[in-house]
Every structure is written in structure tokens, then in C-alpha cells.
């Protein structure tokens, strides 16, 4: 491509032409832009700086508002930058600041341009380069330009000085060493009388303190003075933000600032300042009751204000107070509940959060009712927001606040009928979870499930499918509590179930199977009992007789008894007749027959199982009904045996499984737990089975010798639990995929489960401990036993957590040094006296310890021991700031030899002075250097 001719530059489109052309859209926006870009690519190569700069401006425009990449023009931007004209420079700086980043290759070529402009006599040129630097500075730029910025920090042009102050933030962040040079001047500017400069300095300190507050504690007196003296709201807000960070670190400081903050809160008319005061009090001065009362009073004013912004912020402030001072929310309860129907979604969500904070054991029913009513009336998003928060609050800590589970289960049913409900999955989990954990609620649970299953309308809502699968599973698993299993069967096999996804249809079929077995068994027993004697009282004994050899748990048998006894006439036994059994079997065949051809193997297989079972028993059952008694007894025996066998297979109860359960199993020899199972993922990945099925594995086997084995196990566990759980935790971290999803059993958060974890409510008959629990349960019939123990502490791996702070640490270290230098508190002996003062906090003492520890290592580092260097990472990072440059020094000396000698020795010197300054610093942490006149 040849360069642009003179004609090109004469008739070049200006930015305005470009915008006009874009607006006319004669050839469509995209076409026009690509044409313009083509022109720009040509023009930007021009040797004429005016042409070039116009092209660059157009390109910046297209990049900024039409999102076209302009990285190809980085070098051209530099060329324009070298123009002596101010207008060109401005265009170039603009282009650079929107397109350069740390990995732009030509970034370092800009250093000299910046240096030149930083020392320009024209304040606007200086301003441009400062502006640019504040956007693009990296380590090298920050290092190389530190001297210029240092000079500008005391510029007598306020316009320049405030910008120099502001740019320091980026420079410190990128190159912490610069703190040594610039910090003192920065602090001096805190006493500047000019409001603009002051605002800039306070802004910088606010940013610095938000990352690492403890380093700036020594400056508290200066900030305090500003807090008391300043009349500028912007400055006051920033100072308040600083104190919000500092006050929690130093109780004496907190006491000291409360008064002026409250003064501001009472006096000022600016809402922004009032709100900042409120926020400071509720976040950092929460212990001071009178201040909190004042703040809550102000919050109330906000709440009743017309302005929705103030309402919103008021609610936010309340939710910050709520954990410590719930009274603040209760006092405004009425308003909070009213806000639930506000037009503004922000306000609604905020007030919902507050309402949930108010929930307790006593009012959960009342509040939930109010909320569900709101949910019915509100828009889909908020409706689900409400449902979600009810679900999560009620299930918190294994249903801690729920006393009446019957009520809660029916609430779940009610919630799932709300038209916008999309929380099927969560409700599914809770239905199954409650079913397994809380035995007493099962009759109600089955009743609720039946209502859900029987409603054909629900099948049409795809969000509820998961929920229906839970209902199906529950009614199959606990069918013995059902009042009318036949009806349940019809519900499970209704034609509209074809709308369900295959995985859920499979659950329906399995549940239908369980119901079928139960019906047949009931029928057989009924017949047996009527045959042997006419008294219904015999029924229980018949049941137990027929099933005893299966070694059922007594519980399930009792359940059958309960069900028959309590429900009387409407109960199963009365309703099943020959005819209904025939109908039932026909229904099953009719409904499942077509599924034999299903494409889904799971469905196909399960349908075949059921039909096979029907085939096996049907003939006998039907014959027996027609033929005479004796014959049927004999023939029916086979069928009934089959049925009982099946019933036995289903009747074993499933309990919630703790995630740590696996840890209690001893490792068999030769089992490789640490092997990489990545390949399995491909195979397992597409099996999308609801995990409710996974509970059915293996339960029939556990029964034998359960007592002795489990006792043994428990003894072992108490010894082993520590090591095995930590092993397990590790394993879990690595192979999370193979663990049960956490939604199933809420207890998993216990990393260290107590040996007698109440998880296995289902297997109560096994353990002696559990008997105790059982009696507890019967004493408080509706309430699942809570954990008697406080929640165990979750151990965190602290090695992992510390890494990402390196930079701040080096920055804070540098700041510490310089602050110490500027405060002139050097003599070590007097300092250590100070540290013995009673006021020095425990925290400080720990620090002292680590510091001396670190210091001793410092010597090692000087001899270049890399391993000790690495270990230091975990201690406090203050020293790190030397380390990197020092390391660099060493390398530079090695690698570059003579060439860099001058520079590195200079830096080395700097480092030494830094180290000297460091010793006093070590003590500065223990006794934050706030002069006594303040405290």
C-alpha cells in the first residue's frame, strides 16, 4: 500500500464528517465503518502530523464507541505524541490512554515523552501526561518517572499538584519502592489549605487504607484534624471511609472519633454525609450504643423519605446493623414489610433480606404466610426471590427453626403451586431430605405428595418436574402411610406423565412398582386375615407373621400397623378388593406396555421389571380369586412369596447419609484411592440420575450382624476419625465429582462429625446411642433432635489463603518504613518500652513474635538462601518489598555485570537505608503510633 497522497490529506474526513456519515447511514453502519477504517489505516501512515492525528482521533472514536480494535495504531500514537502541537498531543494521549495496557509492546518507548511533558512549563501538558500515566503506568514507567512526580508533588500550581497527588496512587501500586521517595511529600499535602489538593490527598489515602488499613494508623491524628476541621463534604466522606477502616484496629481511636462523627450526623444537611456517618457507625463503631441509636434514628428518617434512593440505602444500613442489633430492624418492622410491595425491585429485595433476618422459631410460620401471600401477588422474579429465601432460611442448619414439620411440608406443597414457582429443584431436595430425616412427618409428606401428583396441571410446568420426581419418590417410598394407594397408582400412571423427561419418568415407574407391591401385599394379607378369622385385629399379627422371616426392621412393620390403625375405614385394607386389584394390574399393563419400546434404557428396563413382576403374580392372583379357597391358598402362595420378597426389598428404610460417612469405612488393602479417575468422567458424565436412587444401594446387606459391626466401627472411628476425615477432606477436594451432591444431606458441612452423628435416623435400631435419641424424639414428637454439640469449627487450610497479597504487603511495608522515618521515633529501646505498655494488643504481640522471627531470617536472605526466602512468604509480607529489588540486584549483578553496576549499587544503597528504617518499624505495629494527645 502506498502512502497517502497530498490529495488524500487535503480531502481527509474529519471526525465530524465521520460522525455525520455514520448518522446518515447511506450504506449501512458496518459497511461505512469498515470503509472508514480502511481510510484510517492509510491516513495514519501519513508523514503529515495533522493527517495522522486526525486519523488517530477518528480511530479512537471508533474504538471507544463502536468497539473496534485499535491496537495496530499504538506506534502511530507515539509518533503523534512527539508533535510539538498541543492539540496533537491531546489526541495522542487520549488514544494511548484508551488503548495501551501492560503488555503493549511499545509501552516503554513512551517514557521519554512522558518525562518531557511532565517537566513542561505548560500546566495543561503536564496534566495530560499525568492523566495518561494514571491509566497506563506499569512497574517500569512508575520507577523511571518517580523523580518527576516527586517534584510535581510540591508544584506551586494547584492544578498540577492535585493531579500529581492523584497519580501517586497508581505509582505506589505499581512500584512500592517509590513510597520511600514520595510518601513524605504526600503526607505534607494533608495539611494543604487548598480544598482541591486536600480532597485529592484524602482520596488517595482512602484508596490506600482500604487495601491495607493498619499501615496508615499512625496518620490518624492528621485524619482526625481533617474530620474535625473540614467543611467539605467530599473530603469528610473520604475521611469517614478511612476511619471506618482504622477504627476496628484501634479501640481507643474508635472512642475518640465517635463524637465528631455523631456531631456531623446531627449537624449536616447533606444526605450523602449523613449516610456515610451512619454507615461508618454501623460498620465500624457498632459497639457504641448511643452512636448506633443515633444512626438508627437517622436511618428511620431515610426510610420515610420520599426519595427511593434514601429508602434503599436506609434498608441497606439496617441490614448491616441487623446481625448485632436486631432491635433496629424490629423497630422498623412495619415499614420493612410494607416495602415488600414497593415499586422498586431494589427496595423489595433489600426488605426481603431484612424480613428474613427477623425470622425465628416463633414467628417463622407467620412470616412465611405473609411472604407466600406476597409471592402470589408479585412478579415472577421477585416471587422466586421470596420463595428462595424462605427455602434457604427454613432449611438453614438442618431445619433449625422449624418446629412443626407438618406445617412446613404443607407449606412446601403450597409453594410449589404458586404459578411462577421455579424452585422445583430446591423443594425437591427438601422434600426428600425431610422425608428421610423426620420420621413423624411422613404421613403428611405422603399426603402432600399425593396432592401434587394427582394434579395434572402441574405436569405441564417444566420447572416443577424435579419437584414431582420428589413427590413420586416419597409416595413410593412411604406408601404405607398412604390413605389410598390405588389412587396414587392412577396418579403415577396418568397419561400426562408422558410430558416428563425420561429420568423422571423412570422414578415414576419405580414408585409405581413400590406402590403396586404394597397394594398386592395388603390385598394378600387382607385375604389371609379374612380367611383365617374375621377380626381385623388379627391383621397386624398377620403382617408381622408374613414378613418376620425377612428380618424387616420393626419400624416399618409398626408403620403398617399405625397406618391401618389410625386411618380406620378410609385406610388401605378396607378399599382393596378383587376387582380393584384386577383393575390395578390392567392399569399397570396398559400404562407401561408402550414404555417397553422407549428409547431411554432406564425407562425400558424399569417398565420391563414391573411388567415382569405383574406377569409373575397376575395369573396366580386372578385365578385364586375365581377358584375355590383351598386351591387358591396353595397357588397364591407362590405369588405371595414373590410379593413379600419384593416388599422386603423395598421396605428397608433409607437414611440421610453424612458426607463423612465414607470416612468411617476402613480402607481395604489394595484399594487405590488416589488414582486418577478422570476417564470415568466421560462415562459417568451423561448419566443424569436424580441421586435419590443412589440411596437404595446396598441397604439389604447392611442388616446382617449390624449391631456388632457398627459398634466396632464406631469404636474404631472415634480413634481414627481425625486422620481419616482429613484424608477424606483431601480426597473430597480432589474427586468432588464422586461424592453425593451436597443438597441431599445438609449435615455435610461438618468436617469433623461427632462419632455418634445423628445422621442415620433410619437405622435407629442398630445403635444403642440412637435409642437414646429415639426417646428424645418421642418426648418432643414433632421435633427432630438438634445437634447437641455446637457446630464444629471448620478448619481452613491457611497456607492457601495468603498468596494473593504480595503487592499490598510490599506497599504497606514501604509505607511503614517511611511513616516511621517521618515520625522520627527511632530509638529501639524506647520503642520496646512502649510495647510493654498495657495498651498494646495481643495481636501486636503476636506480630512482634513473627517479626523477630522474620528478622532472624532476614540475615539468611542476605546470604542468598532461596528456601528461607520462600518460607518468609507465609510470615508477614512486610519485608518482601526489599526482596524483589534485592533479588533483582543480585541477578543484575550476576547477569549484566559492569553495565548496570552504577544503577544497581545505587539501588542497593537505597535498600540498605530501607533496612535501617525497618527495625523501628517492627515495633511500630505493636503500638500504633498515635500520639497521646489524641488518645
Amino acid at each position: 500500500m502506498s502512502g497517502p497522497s497530498l490529495m488524500d490529506s487535503l480531502f481527509q474526513r474529519t471526525l465530524e464528517d465521520l460522525i455525520k456519515g455514520l448518522r446518515q447511514q447511506l450504506i449501512g453502519e458496518q459497511a461505512f465503518i469498515s470503509k472508514a477504517l480502511e481510510e484510517i489505516r492509510k491516513e495514519i501512515k501519513s508523514t503529515d502530523l495533522s493527517t495522522k492525528s486526525t486519523a488517530l482521533l477518528k480511530l479512537s472514536y471508533l474504538s471507544s464507541l463502536h468497539f473496534h480494535d485499535m491496537s495496530f495504531a499504538t506506534f502511530h500514537a507515539l509518533e503523534v505524541l512527539s508533535s510539538p502541537r498541543f492539540s496533537h498531543k491531546r489526541i495522542a494521549y487520549h488514544a494511548i490512554s484508551i488503548s495501551f495496557h501492560d503488555s503493549t509492546p511499545v509501552l516503554l518507548l513512551i517514557t521519554n515523552h512522558l518525562r518531557k511533558d511532565l517537566s513542561s512549563t505548560n500546566e495543561f501538558e503536564v496534566s495530560l501526561s499525568l492523566q495518561c500515566l494514571s491509566r497506563i503506568a506499569n512497574v517500569d514507567l512508575a520507577r523511571d518517572l518517580t523523580p518527576e512526580i516527586f517534584t510535581l508533588l510540591s508544584s506551586n500550581k494547584l492544578y498540577v499538584r492535585k493531579k500529581a497527588v492523584a497519580v501517586v496512587l497508581r505509582v505506589f501500586e505499581k512500584y512500592p519502592e517509590s513510597v520511600r521517595v514520595c510518601f513524605k511529600r504526600l503526607v505534607e499535602n494533608l495539611e494543604n489549605s487548598d480544598p482541591q489538593v486536600l480532597s485529592a490527598v484524602v482520596g488517595v489515602f482512602c484508596e490506600l487504607a482500604s487495601k491495607d488499613p493498619i499501615s496508615y494508623l499512625p496518620l490518624a491524628p492528621e485524619f482526625y484534624k481533617i474530620l474535625v476541621d473540614s467543611k467539605n463534604n467530599w473530603v469528610l466522606i473520604k475521611v469517614l471511609k478511612i476511619f471506618a477502616k482504622l477504627a476496628p484496629l484501634e479501640p481507643r481511636l474508635a472512642k475518640r472519633v465517635v463524637e465528631p462523627i455523631c456531631d456531623h450526623m446531627r449537624r449536616t444537611g447533606a444526605k450523602s454525609l449523613v449516610f456515610e456517618c451512619v454507615r461508618t457507625v454501623v460498620t465500624s463503631l457498632i459497639e457504641n450504643d448511643s452512636a448506633v441509636r443515633l444512626a438508627v434514628g437517622k436511618v428511620r428518617e431515610f426510610l420515610v423519605d420520599e426519595d427511593p434512593n434514601l429508602k434503599y440505602l436506609g434498608l441497606q444500613a439496617l441490614s448491616i446493623v441487623a446481625p448485632k442489633h436486631l432491635w433496629a430492624v424490629s423497630e422498623n418492622k412495619e415499614f420493612v414489610i410494607k416495602s415488600l410491595s414497593d415499586a422498586d425491585p431494589n427496595i423489595k429485595i433489600e426488605s426481603l433480606r431484612l424480613v428474613m433476618a427477623l425470622v425465628s422459631e416463633h414467628n417463622v410460620a407467620e412470616i412465611s404466610r405473609v411472604l407466600v401471600n406476597y409471592a402470589l401477588k408479585s412478579d415472577p422474579d421477585f416471587c422466586n426471590e421470596i420463595l428462595g429465601s424462605i427455602l434457604s432460611t427454613c432449611s438453614r442448619n438442618v431445619y433449625e427453626i422449624i418446629v412443626d414439620f407438618d406445617w412446613y411440608v404443607s407449606l412446601l406443597g403450597e409453594m410449589s403451586r404458586i404459578p411462577h414457582c421455579q424452585k422445583g429443584e430446591e423443594i425437591e431436595n427438601q422434600l426428600i431430605d425431610i422425608g428421610m430425616r423426620v420420621k413423624d412427618v411422613r404421613p403428611e409428606l405422603v399426603c402432600v405428595s399425593r396432592d401434587l401428583l394427582i394434579d395434572p396441571a402441574l405436569l405441564g410446568n417444566s420447572f416443577l418436574h424435579r419437584l414431582l420426581s420428589a413427590a413420586a419418590w416419597v409416595s413410593g417410598e412411604y406408601v404405607e402411610y398412604s390413605r389410598n394407594p390405588l389412587e396414587l397408582m392412577e396418579a403415577l400412571l396418568q397419561p400426562r406423565t408422558s410430558l416428563l423427561p425420561p429420568s423422571i419418568t423412570a422414578i415414576y415407574i419405580q414408585s409405581a412398582f413400590k406402590v403396586l407391591v404394597f397394594c398386592l401385599l395388603t390385598y394378600l394379607m387382607q385375604r389371609g386375615s379374612t380367611a383365617s378369622s374375621m377380626f381385623p385385629d388379627n391383621l397386624p399379627s398377620a403382617v408381622s407373621a408374613s414378613v418376620s422371616y425377612e428380618s424387616f426392621d420393626d419400624l416399618s412393620v409398626e408403620n403398617v400397623v399405625d397406618a391401618t390403625d389410625t386411618h380406620g375405614p378410609t385406610c388401605t385394607s378396607a378399599s382393596i378388593t378383587n376387582e380393584s386389584i384386577v383393575n390395578l394390574l390392567n392399569l399397570v399393563e396398559l400404562a407401561l406396555g408402550p414404555l417397553l419400546g422407549s428409547h431411554d434404557v432406564e425407562i425400558q428396563e424399569r417398565a420391563r421389571n414391573v411388567l415382569g413382576f405383574v406377569d409373575l403374580t397376575k395369573l396366580d392372583l386372578l385365578n385364586s380369586s375365581v377358584q375355590e379357597e383351598n386351591d387358591s391358598e396353595r397357588k397364591g402362595a407362590e405369588a405371595s412369596k414373590t410379593i413379600e420378597l419384593m416388599h422386603g426389598a423395598f421396605s428397608k428404610e433409607l437414611g440421610p447419609v453424612s458426607s463423612s460417612a465414607q470416612g468411617k469405612i476402613c480402607l481395604p488393602d489394595g484399594l487405590m484411592l488416589k488414582e486418577n479417575l478422570g476417564d470415568l468422567e466421560m462415562i459417568c458424565g451423561d448419566i443424569d440420575q436424580p441421586s435419590s436412587n443412589s440411596f437404595s444401594f446396598g441397604s439389604p446387606y447392611e442388616e446382617k450382624g449390624g449391631v456388632s459391626f457398627s459398634n466396632l466401627q464406631i469404636k474404631e472411628n472415634s480413634r481414627q476419625s481425625n486422620e481419616s476425615t482429613s484424608l477424606l477432606a483431601e480426597h473430597r477436594k480432589r474427586h468432588g465429582l464422586y461424592y453425593l451432591p451436597s443438597g441431599k444431606s445438609e449435615m455435610i458441612s461438618n468436617d469433623y462429625p461427632p462419632a455418634n452423628d445423628p445422621m442415620l435416623l433410619g437405622n435407629i435400631n442398630d445403635n444403642a446411642d440412637d435409642l437414646v435419641k429415639l426417646t428424645e424424639e418421642s418426648l418432643t414428637p414433632k421435633r427432630k433432635p438438634n445437634h447437641a454439640k455446637p457446630r464444629p469449627v471448620v478448619v481452613k487450610l491457611d497456607e492457601v489463603d495468603e498468596k494473593p497479597e504480595s503487592k499490598e504487603d510490599s506497599l504497606s511495608g514501604a509505607v511503614h518504613d517511611v511513616l516511621f522515618g517521618s515520625e522520627d521515633i527511632v530509638p529501639t529501646s524506647s520503642q520496646s518500652n512502649l510495647s510493654d505498655m498495657p495498651s498494646s494488643k495481643r495481636k501486636g504481640k503476636e506480630k512482634q513474635h513473627t517479626d523477630s522471627h522474620v528478622e532472624s531470617k532476614e540475615n539468611l536472605v542476605d546470604h542468598g538462601n532461596p528456601s528461607s526466602r520462600r518460607r518468609k512468604h507465609h510470615s508477614h509480607g512486610k519485608e518482601r518489598r526489599h526482596r524483589s529489588p534485592r533479588k533483582k540486584n543480585a541477578e543484575e549483578r550476576k547477569d549484566n555485570g559492569q553495565k548496570l553496576k552504577e544503577k544497581s549499587s545505587h539501588r542497593h544503597g537505597m535498600h540498605k537505608s530501607g533496612q535501617r528504617a525497618e527495625e523501628p518499624f517492627n515495633f511500630s505495629v505493636q503500638t500504633p503510633v498515635i500520639p497521646d494527645f489524641l488518645l
Binding site: L15, I19, L57, S63, S64, L65, F67, H68, D69, P84, R85, F86, S87, H88, R90, H94, F100, H101, S120, T121, N122, E123, F124, E125, L130, Q131, S134, R135, I136, K162, K163, A166, V167, L169, R170, Q196, S199, A200, G203, V204, E207, S210, N233, W234, K241, K271, S272, F275, E276, P308, N309, K311, Y312, L313, A343, D344, P345, N346, I347, I349
Partner: protein, 166 residues
Amino acid sequence: MIKAVMVMNTQGKPRLAKFYEYLPVEKQQELIRRVFAVLCGRAENVSNFIEAESIFGPDSRLVYKHFATLYFVFVFDSSENELAVLDLIQVFVETLDKCFKNVCELDIVFNYSKIHTILDEIIFGGQVLETSSAEVMKAVEEISKLEAASNAITLIPKSASGWRSR
């Protein structure tokens, strides 16, 4: 820290976009789109806040103001005060109004450079440096003069700038 300033019209066309940390253009476009998607669904007379953490990551807040055909959107973190930033939007708009005498969308469309100059005087590298629209106006006028001087067949550029900076 201010993270970003955006001005867009009620059709979602960006009129000004300024991010104070480098972001690739595609990412900028996506963020603006997502902000607009939330904005256009909001009624009048509701609060001026939007939940921003889902769009801009943790510790971000967003306030906006709706003037005629334009949304003014400021994104910032916890070291700014929400109400103060709302005031700042007011300052910005007032300054534009003074600069263009009854500012309208077209002024912003056609004065790309000037808008940036104004904004740069108010916000510097993410920090709020100037909150008085009079001061901003003063600086912007100086810069315009300087620019005009440097463009007018520069016979005496040096002396002009030298004179100014004294």
C-alpha cells in the same frame, strides 16, 4: 474508585464510554450491553441503583440518572459514597449544560473530544478530583483556547504556551 463512566441513549447506543482499568473492546461492549439490558427494564421514579456485582464483579456499585434521551451511568467500588456519586453525575451534566447551552444528545454525539476533556477534569484515573462545575469550565476553556492556538497555523506556538503557563 470510579471504575467506569458510561453515557448511552434510550436505544442502548453508547455515547460515551470510559473505563478506568484497561478492558478489551469486546468486553467493554458486552458490559455496556448488559447494563443497558437492566436499565431499559426499569420504571421511572424508582431508585437510581442497580445491582452491579453480577456484571462488574465483586465490590462494585452502580448508580445512574436518566435525562431526556440519555442514561448517565457511573460504576464504582466501596470507597465512594453512592449519594455523592449521584451528585457527581449532576455536576457532570450541569457542566455539559453550561458548555453547550442546553445540552442535548446531539451535542454529546458531535463533541467527542470535548466531552472527554470535561470528564477528565472531573475524574482522574478513577479518582474524583473536581466537584465544582465552575472550576471544570475554567480548565476546559483554557484547554480549548490552547488547542485553538496550537492549530492556528502555528507561527508562535512556543510563546503562546509559555505565556499561558506562567
